[in-house]
Symmetry: C2
Subunit: 255 residues, 2 copies
DNA sequence: CGGAATGTTGAACCGTTTCAAACGGAGTGG
DNA sequence: CCACTCCGTTTGAAACGGTTCAACATTCCG
């Protein structure tokens, strides 16, 4: 169902809810001061909405796509494969993220993007975003900041995988996702849906599925999480984030 | 020795050599088409040049610096520390890199930047770069692309640390540095200086110094590298890059 | 209902770490 | 010039964390 949003007018925050682009725009706006007119420009972005089920590819390594994807609901991941076929997830995207900002200025993709669980995704022409960024400095600024936050998350993943043991590593991932999904109605330390198999969790933290299983059981046994049916409950945020060596500074929620 | 460069005029390529900013500008220019005037703008950046010895900090976690650093010679690294004091290098910068582009739009640093070996570093006011980027879209574009390449390198590091064994991991780092240092006079597969202790190499690839030592000996024994006095010689690029599972695509040398 | 994908468990194995001790080279002071 | 220290490298042996493999249980889905 393709569509072009009507120009945005009136009170900004109150009209946001319900619009598919709202999540992304709120996220961008949180990272940089965007003027009302520039917000309006964002709302004029042409897009196509699609509902995809688990395991679908949005981008494949080697592609030169001319569209970007905005995640409205669900989770997606970027992954790479070693020469002998081992998979590593290098990033996870949450609702509101532009999944392939990389592709805005890099021609060919050096990784694949795939849905985890069912996702609603908007497809936006690359040119439209580039044009907007070129015309409106505050939008460019916000995109800049967003890319830098992604890079900062990648740095933390390197630390996580390089230097923390399996248990801490998994706990850290769970904390990060809790903090990032962060729908207004849930604060960290609550419940969220984790539409990933244990194998995929392993691919994200550089472990085997078997070991992920044992560690999740360990965390459950110690009362740090409740985990069943792809749902994570964090009964005590302080305890889990402590066990995870998690400090959300690197997410740069306030810039 | 502070200074302001005279406005740049005349043939671009021929006047580059010898200028401290040249390395960075060439790198930016390689990643985006920058007009002659915009290049001139880059050459007008005010800077201070400093010679630093090994182990000096350019940025400390928690800082909000108002200057960026451009590396002219030597190597620097960005690193983070876990709660129990383990160190992980999350990025290495080579000559021509802007070491802390992150800080351009993120207020507080979530990592430290430190010199590896002796370095020549230019200090440039953050505002000057931001202003230039705001005024000249082609410069903003080039900076964008540079940040994205850095992010792409970070992704490959996640893959490297998460899924490759010690030997391959180290070989991969050696290949990457060879490909990135890439001074015009040496093509990959030649000789370069690696001003890092084995402990620092371990911090970069998520291993202990002891194991790095054994792996380097292994690579040497198999004739894939010669290594002594912090100098790496790669006698056969094809063989080493094969053993390293290295493919330079992710460096996006051509965009 | 049946088959495939995902989760669970145990035991053996192996790559990497840890610890401890020795070695080598560079720099310093007597 | 030697003795001394410091730092990085080297070596060996033991311990550990995570992997691998294989079998079984469970859930999901057509």
């Amino acid at each position: 169902m393709p569509g072009i949003l009507p120009a945005f007018a009136g009170n900004v925050m109150s009209d946001l809810t319900g619009d598919p682009l709202a999540g992304m725009i709120n996220k961008l706006a949180g990272r940089s001061c965007i003027s009302l007119e520039d917000r309006a420009g964002l709302f004029e972005l042409p897009y196509t909405s699609r509902l995809l089920d688990a395991g679908r590819y949005l981008v494949r390594e080697g592609d030169s796509p001319d569209h970007c994807h905005i995640l409205v609901s669900g989770l997606t991941c970027r992954h790479k494969i070693t020469g002998d076929g081992l998979r590593q997830i290098v990033a996870i995207n949450v609702p509101g993220d532009v999944v392939d900002l990389q592709m805005l200025y890099l021609k060919i993709a050096d990784h694949s993007v795939q849905t985890l669980g069912q996702c609603e995704v908007l497809t936006v022409p690359r040119d439209a975003i580039c044009k907007l960024a070129a015309e409106r400095p505050s939008v460019a600024h916000a995109i800049f900041a967003t890319i830098l936050v992604d890079a900062s998350i990648a740095s933390e993943w390197i630390l996580n995988i390089g230097r923390r043991n399996a248990r801490t590593r998994i706990a850290h991932l769970l904390c990060e996702l809790a903090a990032r999904i962060d729908r207004p109605e849930i604060s960290p330390g609550q419940t969220y849906k984790l539409p990933m198999t244990q194998e995929q969790v392993g691919d994200a933290v550089g472990l085997t599925a078997v070991h992920v299983n044992r560690m999740l059981q360990g965390l459950s046994k110690d009362g740090l999480i409740f985990y069943s049916k792809q749902t994570i409950i964090i009964p005590n945020w302080a305890k889990l984030s402590d066990a995870a060596d998690f400090n959300g500074r690197y997410l740069h929620k306030t810039i």
